[in-house]
Symmetry: C2
Subunit: 213 residues, 2 copies
């Protein structure tokens, strides 16, 4: 883990502790950026990155012009299991169709997004990493060329983003699936549909089995 990444992790933890120790609840306002950075003894860019992740995961809300507020970190009218099964269904089917339809241009785009994803994670730029990770999976779904799959996956994206942010938050040393993502790209490149499908499932359900009944 690089220094940056570790710092952002610590700052996220400090923010959560701050909320707890000051007994802040939904709707309560946090001190301004400058003040928080001083309290935690971190740079403002590190603080900003930590706040972004907490916004993604619905713990904080930034209201333009009025400040940062505590929000309810809930996921919606469904269980995590429902979400992950819907996600895995679409990605699994998309992979089968992608290996039939994919062009060199598609695969080049996928490689670019994968590179960005891995780079951003390594640099501890969590919020941008989350966007890039989702862009990777979205690109695979786009390669299916099935308008229903594409539409439905887009509908799921906000919830997948929230869930991924919470995963990043929950683990002190976030164990990412970088090598698995590299393998997914490689298998798609080689047109190995079923092998890719297996890895897609593995990626979605890793660390989740315990909480899905």
């Amino acid at each position: 883990m690089t220094k940056n990444r570790s710092l952002v992790n610590e700052t996220i933890q400090q923010l959560e502790n701050y909320i707890q120790q000051n007994e802040l609840t939904i709707g309560d306002k946090l001190p301004v950026e400058k003040e928080l950075a001083e309290i935690f003894g971190v740079g403002r860019s590190t603080l900003r990155e930590a706040v972004k992740i907490l916004v993604f995961s619905n713990v904080l809300e930034v209201k333009q012009g009025s400040g940062t507020f505590v929000k309810n970190g809930s996921i919606g009218e469904f269980s995590t299991g429902d979400l992950l099964r819907a996600r895995s269904m679409i990605e699994g089917q998309a992979v089968l169709l992608a290996t039939v339809h994919q062009s060199e241009k598609d695969l080049l785009r996928l490689k670019e997004v994968l590179f960005q994803r891995n780079h951003l994670l390594e640099a501890g730029k969590f919020s941008e990493y989350i966007e890039a990770d989702l862009a990777f999976h979205q690109q695979i779904v786009a390669m299916s060329q099935n308008p229903f799959l594409i539409k439905w996956y887009n509908e799921l994206l906000p919830d997948i983003k929230l869930h991924l942010s919470q995963q990043v938050l929950r683990m002190e040393d976030y164990q990412d699936n970088t090598s698995l993502h590299n393998k997914i790209y490689r298998a798609l490149l080689e047109g190995k549909a079923e092998e890719t499908q297996g890895m897609i499932q593995e990626n979605i359900f890793t660390d989740e089995e315990a909480e899905i009944e």
Copy 2:
């Protein structure tokens, strides 16, 4: 094939011939029910049934108070293959979840709908048969208890209905999958997830392979 069913089939054919011979195009009005029934030499209830099927399949449109009009029989902004793959993806996943969640009440409801479906088809009540057939598949998706699958399947229903109507229309002697549907019910009852899944795919792609590239 019962007498009723054969009569409706013939009347559908007569209606399509009538449109062709009179060179009617989109927006043109058909004669009133009484007149059409006389031209074709059929009862008004048989005619009404044939018109319903042609409305389902977008060939005709009934405007309340003004009459029956010729419509464009197209399926939408996607291919039949796209539709059937999306359908099969949802039903296939739903079956796996249904065998985990299903209650006796669920299975009883499924049996009722199946009985209706088979009975209506046998009686040549095509429009009601189509509704009951879709209700059967919708019930399986409901049994998955996954809110995403249920929502998306509901979105697909109008297009599945159109496609099924066109299938019924296209074949002079519509070969239904009644025995396959009975087997699907039986396999669900016995909790055989993968076997059911295979039959679900078989049901969707029968007679379709030739037209899906």
